[in-house]
C-alpha cells in the first residue's frame, strides 16, 4: 500500500501528510500521525454508568486514566461484536489522554497534501463534521479524521447539557 503514491516524487516532504490508517466499520480512515500519541490495545475498560453514550469507559494506561471514546458510537455505527476489543488511538488533549477506540489499525500512509479533497456535501452532516477531507487511494477512499472533533464534541456536548 505504501508504494501507491507514484507521481509525487517532485513534492517535498512538507507537502506530504502522514496518516495512521484505521478501520471503523467498513470505512478506511486516516488519523494524522502528529495528533496520535500512541496506539494501544484497550484492556479492561471500566464501564461508567450514566456517562454520555460515546464514552466507552475508563482504562488504565501505565498509571494514567484514559477516557475511551468509542468511534463507532460517534459515527452512529452498530457496536462491535463482544469478542472484538478493537484498538485505541491515544490522543492528548489538555492534561487528559483520550483513547479513540477503532476496529483495527493498519500501516502509516503518506499522501500529498494537495490531493486532499473536501467531503462531498451530500454526506451525513454529523459524519462530515468529524472528517477533514478524503484521499483517493487506488482501491478505496481514505477519510481523514478530525481527531479533536471526534473527541471534542463529546466534551462540548457535555458542557452544553
Amino acid at each position: 500500500m505504501s508504494t501507491q503514491h507514484t507521481a509525487s516524487n517532485e513534492l517535498s516532504a512538507e507537502a506530504m501528510n502522514e496518516y495512521v490508517s484505521v478501520r471503523i466499520g467498513d470505512q478506511l480512515f486516516g488519523a494524522p500521525v502528529d495528533q496520535i500519541r500512541e496506539v494501544f490495545a484497550p484492556q479492561s475498560v471500566t464501564h461508567v454508568p450514566r456517562a454520555p453514550d460515546e464514552v466507552a469507559g475508563l482504562l488504565n494506561l501505565r498509571g494514567r486514566i484514559v477516557t475511551a471514546i468509542d468511534a463507532r458510537r460517534r459515527m452512529g455505527l452498530p457496536p462491535r461484536e463482544k469478542t472484538e476489543t478493537g484498538m485505541a488511538l491515544g490522543v492528548e488533549r489538555g492534561n487528559e489522554i483520550f483513547g479513540l477506540i477503532v476496529d483495527s489499525v493498519g500501516e502509516v500512509l503518506r499522501r500529498p497534501r494537495s490531493e486532499l479533497e473536501p467531503v462531498p456535501a451530500h454526506v451525513d452532516a454529523n459524519w462530515r463534521s468529524m472528517v477533514k477531507g478524503v484521499h483517493r487511494l487506488e482501491k478505496e477512499l481514505l477519510a481523514v479524521l478530525d481527531v479533536s472533533a471526534v473527541i471534542g464534541t463529546v466534551a462540548r456536548k457535555n458542557e452544553a447539557a
Partner: protein, 930 residues
C-alpha cells in the same frame, strides 16, 4: 528568565507580604521597635538587592519608602495612618513593578516621581534637617548591623580591619569566629578575595565568608538572644561582585524571614528551599508506590507464604512512613493564607470608615498546600464580606450598645481528618427578611415554603447560586461573585460550609475541609458487576439489610426508607441512580448493604450489593467528558490496576435531598433544643388505601361513625350522608379508599362551627399514645409527613387540608373584617403544623415560629399581632423578654391543670380545638374593642 531574578522575585514577594502584615501591626503598636526594625530591614534588603540587579525604578521607590521608615525609627516623625498608607502605597507600587518584572523579565518603562515625591515630602515633614535622606547616626553606629553597637560589641568593619592587619598565624584562624568554629571548617582557603585585591593567604578568610559566619553566629539564639531581628544592613559593599552581593542579600532575606517568626523568641529552623514541582512529582511517585504496595498486599493476601509476609509488612510500614513524610512536606500553616488579610482589613476600614479588629487564632494549623491554595480566595472573600456587610459603621454600633470597634475573628483547628476554619464577626448578623425576599425574587422558594422555614434555613440561601444580598454594590464585594462561588470552591475540595447568625449579634461561618486531597481512604463497594469507591470520610456506618438482618428497607409511597435507631432515613438504591442491573427488591431473601452516607450533614442510605474492601486511593480528577455526571467526584486506579469511579455522596444525595424538605433538619434541631418539651400525642391509626397505616391526631376527631353504604348519597358530585339532621360531606382519606358493598363504611367525623365533614377510611386500626417525631415532611397534599409509630413508618394526615377541601366554595368566614394576626410559638414542629392550619382556617393570619431566636427576629422586624398562641414555656419566655407585653397570650398544652397560669391570659387543653378558636375570637375581639 534569569535564575537570579526569579529567586529574587520569590524572596521579595515573601518579604513584601511580611512587610504588609507588619506595617498594619506597627500602625496599631507604633511604640514597638522590633516590628519597625523588622520592616525597615526587610525593605532595606529589597532596596539593596534591586540596586545590584540593576533595577533602578524599584530601587528608587524602595529607597523613598525606607527613608520615611527611617524617620519613624529615629523618632523624627510620628506614625500616623496617612503615613502608613503612603508606605503601603510604595509597597504596592513595588509589587506592581515586580509583577511586570516577572512577566517580561524587564523593569517596566516609566517613572514614579509622584509617589516618590510624596514619600519625600512626608519624610521631610516639619522637622528641620530632614532634607538629609540618611538620618544622622550615633557615634557607635554600625553600618553592617544597621543599629547601634551594644556595649562590648565590635563593629564588623573594625573586626575585619583588625583581622586583615593582623596577618594571622595559620593556626589561629578560627579565633575571630570562635563562637561558631564549625562554620569555619567549610570556608574556602586560597581563594581570590575581591575586597582585599589579592589571594587569601593560608588560614585567612575572606570578608564575605567571615560575614556569613558572623551572620550565622548572630542567628544562633544561644549566642545572640538579644538580637532576634539581627538587623544587618549595609554589608553589601560596592567592591563585591554582583553574584556575591546577591547571595548575601538572599541569605539576609532568609534570615529575615526566620526572624520574623520570632516574636516569642527566635525560632531558627534549618530549612531548604525546594521547588513545588519537585514536591509534586515526589508526591505522585509516592502515590504510585502506595498503589503498588496495595496491589502487592492484595496479591499476597491469598497466599500462605510466610517468607514474604515479613518483608512485605516492613515494606508496607516504610511506605506508610514515606507517605506521611511526603505529606508533611506539603503541609503549610494556614497563616500563609491569612497573611494578606490584615492589609485587606486595613484597607476596608480606611475606605469605609469602619473600625475593625482582626483576631486570628490557630495560624499554625497546617494543611496541604493544594488545599491551602484552593481556600485562599474563598477565605479572603468571606473576610471581606464580614468587614463590608457584616460589621456596622461605628456610629451604628455605638447606638446598638456595642463597642465602636468591630471584631472579625478567624480561627482554625484540627478535628479528625478535617480542618475547621471559622470566620465570625460581631456585626449586625444576616438580614433574614431581606434574604427571604431575595430568595422569593430569585424564585428559589415559595411563600409557603418560606413561612415554614427556620431562620437558619433561610440564611442558607446566601449559598444558593446567583444570590447576592448586598443592597448596594461596594468597591469590595458584591461584584456578582457571591457566597455561592465560595461554596462551590469549598465543595470542590470535599469541604462543607455553613452559616449561623443572630440578628444584632453577628454571623459565624464555619468551613470544614479535608486535610489533604491527594490520598484518601475509601470503601470499595460492589453494585451489579461493577465496583465503586466511596470516600471513607463521608461514610458514617454500614448496615446489613435483608436475609436475617433486623434492618429492612421499607416502602413509603414509592419512596424507600429505612429505620435506623428510631429515625427514618431516606434510601437510594445505587442500581437505580446509576441505572445498572436490577434494583434490589425489598424482599427478605437477598442480603444487601446500606452505606449510611453523610451528605451535607444529613444521613442518606445507599443500597449496594456488596462491601468489598477498604483501600487507600489516589483521587484523579474526572475527565472533561464526565464532569457533568453528578454521581462521581473522580476516578482512581485500584491496587489490581483497574480503574473505578469514586462516588460523590453529595451528588448522589442531590437525587433525593432536594425533594426532601429542609424540615427534617429543622425538626431534629428543635427537637434537640427542647427535648423536654416533647410530648406524646394520642393518635388514631387507620388504614385507608394500601397496607401502610395512617395516623390522625385523636384530639382533632370529633366522633367515629360507621355508615351503611346505602346511606351514602350523591349530591352535586359529592358523597354525602344525612347526619343529625344535616348533610355531611364524605371525603375519602386518600384516593384508594374503596367502598365495599354490603359492609359498613368507617368514617371519622370532624365538626367545627355547626358544619361537619366525614373522612372515609377502610379500617380503624388502633389508638396509640406516642411521641410524634416527624421524620420527613411531604409535599403530597393531605399528608403532613411521616413518623415512626408503633415501629412502623406511618403517614400523618393533614386534617386541615381535608377541612379546606370540603369547605371549598363556602363563604369565607370573616372575609369582610380585617384578618387578625396571631403569632404561634411552639417548639414542637408537629404541634406547629397542626395548629397553624386550623387557626388559618378559622380566619387568622398565622405566623409560626419555632424558637426564641426566631421570635426575637420577628419582634425586631416590628411585626404586630393581635394575640399570641403557643406552648406555655415559650409564651413565658416571651413574657420575660418583655415582647408584646400587652397582647393576650393563649397557652395550649396537654396538661392544662399542671400549667402555671401566671402571665398567661388563658390555658387551654390542646385537644379542644373549638375552645381555642372560641377563646381566640373572644380575646382578639376584646382587643379590638379596647
Amino acid at each position: 528568565m534569569d535564575d537570579l531574578i526569579s529567586e529574587f522575585l520569590t524572596e521579595t514577594a515573601e518579604s513584601l507580604d511580611v512587610i504588609d502584615a507588619e506595617l498594619v501591626r506597627f500602625e496599631n503598636n507604633p511604640e514597638d521597635r522590633a516590628i519597625l526594625d523588622n520592616i525597615f530591614r526587610l525593605l532595606h534588603t529589597v532596596k539593596g538587592t534591586c540596586g545590584f540587579l540593576g533595577l533602578p525604578r524599584l530601587e528608587a521607590v524602595a529607597h523613598a519608602g525606607e527613608t520615611l521608615l527611617g524617620k519613624f525609627r529615629d523618632g523624627e516623625l510620628k506614625v500616623s495612618p496617612p503615613m502608613v498608607t503612603l508606605v503601603l502605597q510604595a509597597i504596592d507600587q513595588i509589587k506592581e513593578l515586580l509583577e511586570s518584572l516577572e512577566a517580561t523579565g524587564q523593569e517596566p518603562e516609566g517613572e514614579d516621581s509622584a509617589l516618590i515625591g510624596r514619600l519625600e515630602d512626608a519624610s521631610m515633614g516639619k522637622l528641620e534637617g530632614a532634607e538629609q535622606a540618611v538620618p544622622e547616626k550615633p557615634e557607635n553606629w554600625d553600618e553592617d548591623l544597621g543599629r547601634e553597637l551594644r556595649p562590648g560589641e565590635v563593629s564588623l568593619a573594625d573586626l575585619e580591619a583588625a583581622f586583615n592587619n593582623a596577618e594571622v598565624d595559620p593556626g589561629m584562624a578560627p579565633e575571630p569566629v570562635a563562637e561558631e568554629p564549625a562554620e569555619v571548617q567549610h570556608l574556602g582557603v586560597g581563594d581570590f578575595d575581591p575586597e582585599l585585591g589579592r589571594e587569601l593567604r593560608p588560614g585567612e578568610v575572606s570578608a564575605a565568608e567571615l560575614e556569613a559566619a558572623f551572620m550565622n553566629a548572630e542567628a544562633d539564639p544561644a549566642v545572640a538572644p538579644a538580637a532576634p531581628a539581627a538587623p544587618k544592613a549595609d554589608f553589601i559593599t560596592a567592591d563585591m561582585s554582583q553574584e556575591e552581593a546577591l547571595q548575601s542579600a538572599m541569605a539576609e532575606l532568609k534570615g529575615g524571614a526566620d526572624a520574623n517568626h520570632g516574636e516569642g523568641g527566635p525560632r531558627v529552623q534549618q530549612t531548604v528551599r525546594v521547588g513545588v514541582d519537585v514536591l509534586e512529582s515526589l508526591m505522585t511517585t509516592v502515590s504510585e508506590l502506595v498503589l503498588t504496595r496495595n496491589q502487592l498486599m492484595q496479591t499476597i493476601r491469598g497466599l500462605e507464604d510466610d517468607e514474604l509476609k515479613g518483608p512485605l509488612q516492613r515494606l508496607s510500614a516504610v511506605t506508610g512512613e514515606l507517605q506521611d513524610g511526603v505529606m508533611k512536606t506539603r503541609m503549610q500553616p494556614i497563616g500563609d493564607a491569612w497573611r494578606k488579610l490584615p492589609r485587606i482589613i486595613r484597607d476596608v476600614s480606611t475606605d469605609l470608615g469602619k473600625k475593625i479588629e482582626l483576631v486570628m487564632e490557630g495560624q499554625d494549623t497546617e494543611l496541604d498546600r493544594q488545599v491551602l491554595e484552593l481556600i485562599k480566595d474563598p477565605l479572603t472573600h468571606m473576610v471581606r464580606n464580614s468587614a463590608d456587610h457584616g460589621l456596622e459603621m461605628p456610629a451604628d454600633r455605638a447606638a446598638a450598645g456595642k463597642p465602636e470597634k468591630g471584631t472579625i475573628k478567624l480561627s482554625a483547628y484540627h478535628e479528625g481528618g478535617h480542618i475547621i476554619i471559622a470566620i465570625s464577626d460581631d456585626g449586625k448578623g444576616l438580614d433574614t427578611q431581606r434574604i427571604g425576599e431575595k430568595a422569593l425574587e430569585k424564585g428559589l422558594t415559595t411563600h409557603d415554603e418560606l413561612e415554614r422555614m427556620t431562620e437558619a434555613q433561610i440564611h442558607r440561601f446566601i449559598f444558593a447560586p446567583g444570590f447576592s444580598t448586598a443592597a448596594k454594590v461596594t468597591n469590595l464585594s458584591g461584584r456578582g461573585v457571591g457566597m455561592d462561588v465560595v461554596r462551590t470552591n469549598i465543595e470542590q475540595i470535599g469541604g462543607v460550609v455553613d452559616v449561623s447568625s443572630t440578628a444584632g449579634r453577628g454571623s459565624h461561618f464555619s468551613i470544614k475541609i479535608p486535610l489533604t486531597l491527594a490520598i484518601v481512604s475509601a470503601l470499595i463497594v460492589g453494585c451489579d458487576e461493577e465496583r465503586f469507591a466511596i470516600p471513607q470520610l463521608s461514610v458514617r456506618e454500614l448496615v446489613r439489610v435483608g436475609a436475617g438482618s433486623e434492618h429492612s428497607v421499607e416502602n413509603l409511597h414509592g419512596a424507600q426508607v429505612m429505620r435506623l435507631r428510631d429515625r427514618l432515613m431516606p434510601i437510594i438504591d445505587l442500581h437505580n441512580v446509576l441505572g445498572v442491573g436490577e434494583a434490589k427488591q425489598t424482599s427478605d431473601e437477598q442480603a444487601a448493604f446500606v452505606v449510611v452516607l453523610d451528605a451535607g450533614g444529613r444521613n442518606v442510605g445507599l443500597v449496594v450489593d456488596n462491601v468489598l474492601d477498604t483501600e487507600e486511593i489516589v483521587v484523579k480528577p474526572l475527565s472533561e467528558s464526565l464532569r457533568n455526571v453528578q454521581a462521581y467526584s473522580g476516578a482512581t486506579i485500584l491496587g489490581d490496576g483497574s480503574v473505578i469511579m469514586i462516588l460523590d455522596p453529595n451528588g448522589l444525595a442531590g437525587e433525593i435531598v432536594s425533594a426532601m424538605d429542609e424540615e427534617t433538619a429543622a425538626t431534629s434541631q428543635s427537637a434537640t433544643v427542647t427535648e423536654l418539651d416533647q410530648q406524646t400525642q394520642r393518635l388514631l391509626l387507620v388504614r385507608a388505601g394500601g397496607e401502610e397505616p395512617k395516623a390522625v391526631p385523636l384530639a382533632l376527631v370529633t366522633r367515629l361513625e360507621e355508615f351503611d353504604l346505602s346511606a351514602l348519597e350523591n349530591t352535586n358530585g359529592r358523597r354525602v350522608v344525612q347526619y343529625r339532621g344535616r348533610l355531611m360531606p364524605i371525603v375519602p382519606l386518600g384516593a384508594e379508599v374503596t367502598e365495599r358493598e354490603g359492609q359498613r363504611q368507617p368514617v371519622l367525623v370532624f365538626a367545627e362551627n355547626h358544619t361537619s365533614i366525614g373522612l372515609a377510611v377502610d379500617e380503624i386500626v388502633d389508638v396509640v399514645e406516642e411521641r410524634v417525631d416527624l421524620q420527613m415532611s411531604s409535599d403530597r397534599q393531605g399528608v403532613i409527613g411521616s413518623a415512626i409509630i408503633k415501629g412502623k413508618a406511618t403517614d400523618v394526615v393533614d386534617i386541615a387540608w381535608y377541612l379546606d377541601q370540603s369547605r371549598a366554595g363556602e363563604i369565607q368566614r370573616r372575609s369582610a373584617s380585617r384578618r387578625r394576626k396571631v403569632l404561634l410559638v411552639d417548639a414542637d414542629a408537629f404541634a406547629r403544623r397542626m395548629i397553624a392550619p386550623l387557626l388559618a382556617a378559622a380566619g387568622y393570619d398565622v405566623t409560626p415560629s419555632g424558637g426564641m431566636h426566631e421570635v426575637k427576629a420577628i419582634a425586631e422586624a416590628g411585626e404586630h399581632f393581635d394575640a399570641l398562641v403557643g406552648d406555655p414555656g415559650a409564651l413565658d419566655r416571651i413574657r420575660k423578654e418583655g415582647l408584646w407585653a400587652d397582647l393576650p397570650a393563649l397557652a395550649v398544652t396537654d396538661w392544662p391543670e399542671d400549667t402555671q397560669a401566671e402571665g398567661l391570659t388563658m390555658v387551654l387543653p390542646r385537644s379542644d380545638r373549638g375552645a381555642l378558636i372560641a377563646a381566640l375570637d373572644e380575646v382578639s375581639q376584646e382587643e379590638k374593642v379596647a
